[in-house]
């Protein structure tokens, strides 16, 4: 479904979830294949309006827009480790901004979108400046509150936003002075900017900056000791995610017969985006894009056939995804990569805690048998692994359980 601009993130996820050593050498070798897949998907997506009926085409455009929102959220959730419950706020701000600009100023092609991105980014800086100081549940609650606040604003500022009725009468986007009147053209417009947005997020996630964001996600104190300021990086990540969400919102407002309502920036949209990230697999970027397609498919395409029970089906999909897919849909590919087996030169790593709790019967972990220590609950995985590999004598002073028992010879004087 999505343009897959993140070929090697598959390998990163594989390494992260399986704990196996994936030398980047082999990752580089796989890039051409993934690049080809991405290109094929892109061509397929570009060809859609030529073969598919207008309704389905516009539905696909909605999927792309929602996928862009989900991927921008994944930059927060999966890469930076900041699960936000208010991400739709920036989507909505982008949508209202683009709609208002198109309605009252100009609908000339990129201007409403640029306005959407800029305003959403400003909103993200201002709110993120508060939010990223907090951690965990507090971050969740703060982003939820920010989202609700902005939704309230959209509802009550009816002179500008149209209140509960929403913002309607947004003119069609104009490219080179001509309004895009056909669904296919609008679709291409959406596709172009969605791919642009995906590419930006992918490039950022692959950049040194992205590596720093992952480092902050995994171990913030460590990053501080390396001289990184987690606050600045998190704020930058939050702002970028907000800006891309704003771009998605701007695209949302440039669809045909666009209607932007307060619901678009409320909790439901945020939760659906988070659901798309969870179903698709956080941190992989392309997974959430597919997750978003699944969400839109179930809610909007099959929803009417299900007598409005689409949300129920979504809930079931979510539960199934959480319980049976360790890392969402993206995890399916990494499992497949794992079955090929880790490279021979890489020593297998003992199972991490999460694997210990959800063992995968289809992929027997070679280290399960060789690991000398059975996983004990309280120990962090890394120290546990250290013992699995290193049988050296125990230095004093660590609070690891000394394991001289394994090499009694060393203790004889």
């Amino acid at each position: 479904m999505s343009v897959d601009p993140a070929p090697s993130t598959v390998d990163e996820t594989a390494a992260r979830t399986s704990g196996t050593a994936t030398p980047t050498g082999s990752a580089r070798r796989r890039v051409p294949l993934a690049g080809l897949i991405a290109l094929a998907v892109l061509i397929l997506l570009a060809a859609v309006p030529l073969f598919v009926a207008p309704f389905q085409t516009s539905m696909l455009a909605r999927m792309l827009i929602f996928a862009l929102l989900a991927v921008s959220l994944d930059l927060l959730v999966g890469i930076t480790g900041l699960p936000s419950l208010g991400h739709a706020a920036y989507f909505g701000i982008g949508a209202y901004t683009a709609g208002l600009v198109a309605k009252y100023w100009t609908a000339a092609a990129p201007i409403p979108l640029i306005a959407a991105v800029v305003v959403a980014a400003f909103a993200a800086v201002a709110t993120g400046w508060l939010a990223v100081r907090s951690h965990g549940v507090f971050f969740l609650m703060l982003t939820l509150a920010i989202g609700e606040l902005i939704q309230q604003l959209a509802e009550s500022w009816s002179g500008v936003t149209g209140g509960d009725n929403g913002l309607s009468g947004i003119p069609a986007v104009e490219v080179a002075g001509e309004p895009l009147s056909l669904v296919g053209y609008v679709y291409w417009y959406v596709l172009f900017f969605a791919v642009l947005g995906f590419t930006v997020i992918w490039a950022v996630s692959r950049s040194p900056f992205g590596a720093a964001l992952r480092g902050i996600r995994d171990n913030e104190p460590r990053m501080r000791s390396l001289g990184y300021s987690p606050f600045r990086y998190k704020l930058a990540g939050f702002t970028l995610a907000g800006a891309i969400a704003g771009l998605a919102g701007g695209l949302f407002a440039s669809q045909q017969f666009a209607l932007v309502t307060p619901a678009d920036l409320g909790f439901t949209t945020s939760a659906l985006a988070l659901l798309a990230v969870a179903v698709g697999g956080a941190g992989s970027l392309w997974g959430p894009a597919i997750g978003a397609a699944v969400v839109v498919l179930i809610r909007d395409v099959y929803g009417p056939d299900l007598d409005g029970h689409g949300t129920l089906v979504l809930g079931i999909v979510f539960i199934v995804a959480v319980y049976s897919l360790r890392n969402g849909l993206a995890g399916l590919t990494t499992t497949r990569f794992r079955r090929r087996g880790p490279p021979a030169d890489a020593a297998p790593a003992p199972p991490r805690d999460n694997e210990a709790t959800t063992p995968d019967p289809t992929t027997p972990d070679p280290t399960q048998a060789t690991s000398a220590v059975p996983p004990t609950g309280g120990l962090p995985a890394n120290r546990q692994e250290g013992h699995g590999v290193d049988q050296g004598s125990k230095g004093p002073g660590t609070d690891d359980p000394p394991r001289h028992a394994d090499d009694p010879g060393e203790r004889r004087s």
């Binding site: 390494a15 704990g19 720093a212 501080r224 050296g392």
Partner: protein, 285 residues
Amino acid sequence: MSALLELRGVGRSFGALKAVDGVDLDVESGARHALIGPNGAGKSTLFRLISGEMAVTAGTVTLSGDEVTKLSQVRRARRGLAQTMQHSSLFLTQTAAQNVALAAQRHRGSARWLLPRRQRDVDSRVTELLAAVGLLERGEVAVSALSHGERRQLEIAVALACEPRLLLMDEPAAGMSPAESGRLTELVLALPREITVVIVEHDLDVVFALAERVTVLHLGQVLLTGSPDEVRESVAVQEAYLGSSNRGELFGPTSRPDPSEGHPVSNLLAEGALHSDEADGGTRS
């Protein structure tokens, strides 16, 4: 030589407990300085106060002449203070090279932090550092697949990537075999003299092999600062150690014949955690 690190009356209290109490410490530029002391002496707390991870409740910390008492850990890190952690805190899912690169990119080429350009400068620095700690061949291996000893070596490469003037090493030899701690000692001895090293270590063989100056902490206070020989001969130091354990001679004329004859704390830990037969054998030997 001037003092690179100066502590004056540094203290940290947790309620009524004074974990670190009025510590004065001068570390000369280029020195190899060790902090030792029985468990609970405040060594790790003092380290945190130096690195800025924890704020002092009394006293001042001065780094190359500038007072850094109020500066955050991040700021101090940017002024050339790097540390290796007591518990390996590397990024397990990433390769050894990526771990070093993450530190190197912060201190080199900060201008290209956004775009995934080919970073030759950072890459060559990473190769150089991996080679320096003897992990060149393991660069593309995920940290989770490295042995404990290799991880400690990698910790040092990561710390060196921060281009430190002052390197704080918190128990770098912890959990290492004698051969591994021997290699570690060589590695630290080979560091250029532009890097000042302050080391907290329980393995006294490592301490006496590395350090030119040794500061003994006891109950949060400096008991003695002196050369390794002075420390070895000090009655006060022996008493401080003996008071916290039930072992006999600590700094014998001969150095420890084998690792099991280590430092008293090793046996305290061992008794609690080992299988009883092994623990008995260990303490009796």
